[in-house]
């Protein structure tokens, strides 16, 4: 089935579509609470957050991230220096230990979507795919949350 056609069905199917995309593409990497921080329509960047759980008996390594709405997507780490300054650095790999968890959350490790082709609005879902060592991918929908939903 062509991808475009499949996406149209998702748009119409609503609930069914959500269920399909809620299933991790790779069973051992389980996603929960995946969301994007809403930003102004002229914003060049967006941040994404998600809880990741490795449901397998071997370590999983995320080697890259991609989404259709951004020209470039990266994993970022955040460090705080003694003087209180914060620095974001590109995280080239993220390993989730066997049966372990990892979290991408505000002010800490997070996804950075750069060179946005369009800025999704409140409530919209955007598919984001995590590339794993071994040339496989796991995708999940990220929902755009209103500021009041994450900064209350």
């Amino acid at each position: 089935m062509p991808k475009r056609c499949f996406k149209s069905m998702l748009g119409i199917g609503g609930l069914l579509g959500s269920l399909v995309f809620a299933m991790p593409a790779r069973a051992e990497l389980v996603f929960s609470d995946a969301w994007l921080r809403a930003v102004p329509p002229v914003s060049p960047t967006m941040a994404g957050y998600v809880s990741l759980e490795n449901d397998s008996d071997k370590d999983l390594m995320i080697t890259g991230v991609r989404t259709d709405i951004a020209g470039h997507t990266m994993l970022h780490a955040m460090t705080t220096a003694e003087d209180g300054t914060r620095q974001m650095t590109h995280l080239h790999h993220l390993t989730i230990p066997a049966r372990g968890k990892a979290s991408l959350s505000p002010g800490e490790k997070h996804l950075m979507l750069m060179k946005l082709k369009r800025v999704p609005s409140f409530g919209e879902s955007v598919d984001i795919c995590f590339q794993l060592a071994g040339d496989t991918e796991a995708c999940t929908p990220f929902t755009v949350k209103r500021p009041s939903q994450f900064d209350g």
Binding site: R37, P44, T45, T85, Q87, P147
Partner: protein, 188 residues
């Protein structure tokens, strides 16, 4: 009874003072802040003196920052909305100073900031002007060139200024909204 004419005005003055607004307990920070001139989001010169008469929430950032800066703006917007609902936002002025003038032009700030619906004044300027203001507020920012873009390592304090433009309190980026609302109310 002969002392009554002298005592009465004093008692009256005390009574009036007691009925008036209580002075804020927030200490005045004389080491931070001061005069500055930058360019606002309309492309007009903007001086620190223009903030006098209003209580300001001042903070630094840049619009290409995906994580902390939009979160701070959203939180400041919530402070603004809470005070607006209480009918007290008229004298509150959020101020966003970019340290990325190369990309955060007046035009871009004018498009970016209204989305937060908090009447935020965006300020930009030459790099030297911004460096000077940042120094006055003890703000550090360092440009980090990444593979495809550049970011900033930066401090992210939020400053509450009284109606004389004096710094009265600093907050971390993840400040408690109710705390800032309560503090601002003591200055409004």
């Amino acid at each position: 009874m002969r002392k009554l004419p002298y005592v009465l005005p004093v008692l009256l003055a005390l009574l009036v003072a007691g009925c008036g607004k209580q002075e804020s307990d927030l200490p005045i920070n004389n080491r931070l802040g001061g005069e500055f001139t930058l360019t606002d989001h309309n492309g007009e010169p903007f001086t620190q003196a223009q903030l006098k008469g209003k209580v300001s929430i001042l903070f630094f950032g840049y619009t290409h920052c995906p994580d902390i800066c939009p979160a701070v703006l959203a939180r400041v917007a919530q402070v603004y909305r809470q005070l607006d609902e209480a009918g007290e936002a008229e004298r509150l002025q959020p101020v966003f100073i970019t340290f990325d003038p190369e990309r955060d032009t007046a035009e871009h700030l004018k498009e970016y900031l209204p989305w937060f619906k908090a009447n935020v004044i965006g300020l930009t300027g030459s790099l030297d002007e911004i460096r000077q203001v940042a120094k006055q507020y003890g703000v550090v920012f360092i440009k980090d060139q990444q593979e495809q873009d550049y970011l900033f390592t930066h401090s992210d304090y939020i400053y509450l200024l009284d109606d004389q433009g004096r710094v009265r309190k600093l907050y971390p980026a993840d400040f408690t909204i109710d705390e800032v609302v309560a503090d601002a109310k003591t200055l409004l």
